[in-house]
């Protein structure tokens, strides 16, 4: 029997300086410790069938990232969460576990948008005005990077359409809702750089935290945990 489960997890504090591949290794070991009935791949080198919705960059915190795991047995959400949380390192925990319907799409293909909270420091009184200017602009151009062979620079990209929302929260942090996925992928660090540019410099951020990852269903953004639920 095979059942796919989508875990929603958070990562806070010093552990945020871990890279994506190290997080993958971390979760593989955590699953081993938890005794969850992971399903293994066939073949010469059996491994857990685990995938992540969205690689977490070094230094990014998260409150709502997703990891999919195949298991050989279906268990209740509470039991799965308890077993994993019992063996977690401080700073990392799982908050939801949803059993997916058969033939669910893989998490990475589903990603359509994500929310971020960006800590602000420096000349923060200039932030609100800069946010307004970005939201009013038709065009926000970022460096297009280089072509695959690294010979030519690509044309600058307009990411304005990818910024779905941006505002200053009551606690002074910056909230952003950004488009993600293969067609357009807006990185929070790029948007912050543009904001700082619009503010004339002097803004700093020490921590970007991803709050939620969304899939697009019927033209509505819904949290990944609620997409492809088995009994939905």
């Amino acid at each position: 029997m095979s059942v796919s489960v989508r875990f929603r997890f958070s990562r806070k504090g010093p552990v945020r300086y871990t890279g994506h591949l190290d997080m993958l290794r971390y979760f593989q070991k955590a699953v081993m410790r938890s005794g969850l009935p992971a399903r293994y791949s066939e073949g010469f080198h059996p491994h857990q069938i685990m995938s992540f919705a969205y690689p977490l960059g070094v230094s990014m915190e998260t409150e709502g990232d997703y990891m999919d795991l195949d298991m050989t047995q279906e268990l209740g959400e509470e039991e799965m969460l308890n077993r994993l949380n019992a063996v977690m390192n401080e700073g990392i925990s799982v908050s939801r576990a949803t059993v997916l319907k058969d033939n669910a799409e893989n998490a990475m293909a589903l990603v359509a948008a994500a929310d971020y909270r960006v800590s602000l420091s420096g000349d923060t009184d200039k932030a609100a005005d800069a946010v307004r200017r970005i939201m009013e602009a038709q065009e926000i151009l970022i460096d297009g990077g280089e072509t695959k062979r690294g010979k030519k620079k690509k044309d600058p990209k307009n990411i304005r359409q990818g910024i779905l929302d941006m505002h200053i929260e009551e606690d002074g942090s910056l909230f952003m809702k950004l488009v993600s996925g293969s067609a357009m992928n807006v990185r929070p660090a790029d948007v912050f750089d543009k904001l700082n540019e619009a503010a004339g410099g002097g803004l700093y951020t020490e921590c970007i935290c991803r709050l939620e990852i969304y899939a697009l269903r019927d033209e509505k953004l819904i949290p990944l945990a609620d997409a492809d639920k088995k009994d939905a």
Binding site: G13, T18, L21, R25, K29, M32, F44, S59, V87, G91
Partner: protein, 629 residues
């Protein structure tokens, strides 16, 4: 205390500048947090190399776990900041800190270095300086941490003796508790560092180098080593865990987030080695051979896997094939691990029918290469070094492996062994050819999957203290390279040369290692000079500079050839004669003579050879054996 709430020593912008910030943030699974106010001793344990290397070291995990099992002690870790972070910390004037509490090393009671190889010596100075401490013990104050060294290099730590307050000789499990009790006692009654060190020197295994006076002869050899007080021993005897099976084992080791060199659980099955290979220091200094019970090991294995989540378990010892309960242990481990989808890795296993059968059961079906360590090419040389592996052993093992589907073989050799002739070097090429030819004789053409690959590697031999070769002269770099070139030419002359890849190590690193291995206290200024001229991470080819060492020898007026190119006479006093490893100099000299005669000595399971380790009255030394016990 919650690891996720710790305040990091390095600010965000600096961490983001580092190549791998997670080397400096700590907080790993099973790392230990304590309330600083509730402990009496803060011990900072340093492996003076990069994090990924240090975290792969079992000895550190043992002492970390053991010390943290003491309620009054908090043991933390620190590693050499890699070159990028080294530069940043100097630029920003950030003092070196321990990973757990992120507090400066300088605030600790003890700073303990594990000394695993000579080429890390410059990194000790790096750690001391980044911590804001004086390099020389004599220049440090009452408030500075006690700097203590342990591990194999302490069997001759004289070249770095002036930088240390204490060397712990032997296995740390035995007397660290005593040392801590003494420290607490002194702290309570009014601490003076000199008094504490004097009292510490009375504990078995504790060597306080400053309390021993070295005098030299006109020819630069050591004349005498004299203790400065009547109430400290003339020689410092190593400590040995008598009951290995009952001793502490770290079944909840720290699990790094970043991939360490050893990304697996390690099960130490045995300590010591029955084979008296004459070049091998580990074989002498870890005597007597002591094995754990299979039941104990099974319990540890289960706990280890549950506590870490590793997907691989590695058996560790100097020679796992000699572990008495190996068959039973492997049967039980295979049962347990297959169920849990865990791979078992078996380094240092002799290749024979049994081990090949086991490997078929435990390792990925993808057949990795097999390793043999003949150490020398000719049987004559193997007798000289007392390596009990014969051509028949190797060819039989290889034949079985080839039949079993393996087609990659690694062969390890040494060049520059005492008494070596060019034909012994050529024999490396001939043996490699024989193994290759065997493949084509054994495996029919239709079943071959391409060509067989024989990878022959040779390192250059370094004579080490407490071995039969401690009297031996080393080859010069020119001789090393000439011999390696000769070997390469001979490889090219072989019929199956296309199937043989030959590598050799760097000769210049070997020379420095040789000088440091058998050097004395007059080398401290040289090491300091190398460090002051930018030498760190000498164990890494990209950062090592031979010229920097040559310049330092010159400017310090030290003739380094004195330490390595002489064959030493029988009656020479060695700098390391202050250490009593149990193994007697008389026995080692007998072995040196046997080596010159090409006489093989039996291993200590077959017959006691009277090495002196019997005085520890434990392990194999008190078990009935063949021959005179």
């Amino acid at each position: 205390m919650d690891k996720s709430k710790r305040k990091l020593a390095l600010p965000h912008r600096i961490l983001m500048e580092a190549e791998k910030p997670a080397r400096y943030t700590g907080g790993e699974l099973n790392s230990v947090m304590k309330e600083a106010d509730l402990v009496k001793i803060r011990f900072c344990f340093c492996f003076p190399d990069v994090y990924e290397i240090g975290m792969s070291h079992l000895g550190m995990q043992i002492l970390y776990g053991l010390m943290n099992s003491y309620e009054d002690v908090w043991c933390e870790r620190v590693f050499s900041p890699w070159t990028d972070m080294d530069a940043i910390m100097r630029r920003e004037k950030i003092p070196l800190f321990a990973l757990e509490s992120q507090e400066p090393v300088k605030n600790f009671d003890f700073l303990g270095f594990t000394l695993q190889y000579e080429m890390c010596y410059v990194n000790i100075l790096q750690v001391l300086q980044l911590s804001g401490m004086a390099l020389y013990s004599r220049d440090r104050g009452e408030d500075d941490p006690i700097v203590i060294g342990g591990g194999p290099c302490t069997y001759n730590a004289e070249p770095i003796a002036d930088f240390f307050d204490i060397f712990y000789i032997g296995e740390g499990e035995v007397n660290y508790r005593k040392l801590f009790d003494l420290y607490e006692e002194h702290k309570e009654k009014g601490y003076r560092k000199a008094d504490f060190l004097h009292d510490a020197a009375k504990i078995e295994g504790i060597y306080v180098p400053a309390l021993y006076d070295i005098s030299y002869n006109d020819d630069n050899t050591v004349k005498s080593i004299t203790p400065g007080y009547d109430d400290i021993p003339a020689t410092v005897r190593k400590t040995v865990v008598k009951d290995l099976d009952g001793s502490f084992y770290p079944t909840a080791p720290v699990v790094p987030f970043i991939q360490a060199t050893q990304d697996r659980a390690v099960l130490e099955v045995m300590r010591g080695c029955i084979r008296g290979c004459r070049f091998c220091q580990a074989g002498q200094i870890y005597k007597p051979v002591r094995a754990r019970k299979v039941d104990t090991l099974m319990r540890y294995a289960e706990e280890l896997l549950n506590n870490t989540g590793y997907e691989e378990l590695s058996l560790s010892s100097l020679s796992t094939s000699d572990f008495p309960g190996l068959k039973e242990l492997l049967e039980r481990l295979i049962n347990m691990c297959n169920e849990k989808k865990i791979n078992i890795s078996l380094p240092s296993l002799r290749i024979d029918a049994f081990s090949l059968d086991v490997m078929n059961k435990v390792q990925d079906v993808k057949k990795n290469s097999l390793t043999f360590a003949p150490e020398a090419g000719s049987q004559r040389m193997r007798n000289v070094i007392n390596k009990g592996l014969t051509v028949e052993n190797i060819l039989n093992g290889a034949e079985m492996a080839f039949k079993g589907g393996w087609n990659k073989v690694k062969l390890y050799f040494m060049i520059g062994l005492p008494g070596e002739e060019d034909e012994d070097v050529a024999a490396i090429a001939e043996l490699s050819n024989e193994v290759a030819a065997l493949y084509y004789d054994t495996v029919p053409k239709s079943e071959r999957q391409g060509r067989v690959t024989i990878t022959a590697s040779s390192s250059f031999f370094v004579p080490k203290p407490f071995t039969a070769f401690q009297w031996a002269a080393m080859n010069t770099p020119e001789e090393f390279l000439r011999k390696a070139a000769h070997c390469k030419t001979k490889v090219r002359e072989q019929l199956n040369q296309k199937s043989i890849v030959y590598h050799y190590h760097d000769a210049s690193t070997t020379i420095i290692e040789g000088v440091l291995a058998r050097g004395d206290r007059r080398l401290a200024p040289v090491i300091e000079e190398v460090y002051r001229n930018g030498g760190i991470f000498d164990a890494w080819t990209e950062t090592f500079s031979y010229q920097r060492w040559m310049d330092a020898f010159e400017s310090c007026g030290v003739d380094y050839g004195f330490y390595i190119y002489r064959e030493r006479p029988e009656d020479e006093v060695f700098p390391w004669d202050v250490i009593d490893s149990g193994v007697t100099k008389k026995y080692l000299y007998r072995e040196w003579m046997n080596s010159k005669a090409g006489t093989v000595t039996l291993n200590c399971r077959d017959k006691c050879v009277g090495c002196g380790a019997g005085s520890f009255t434990c392990g194999i030394c008190i078990q009935p054996r063949g021959g005179a016990a």
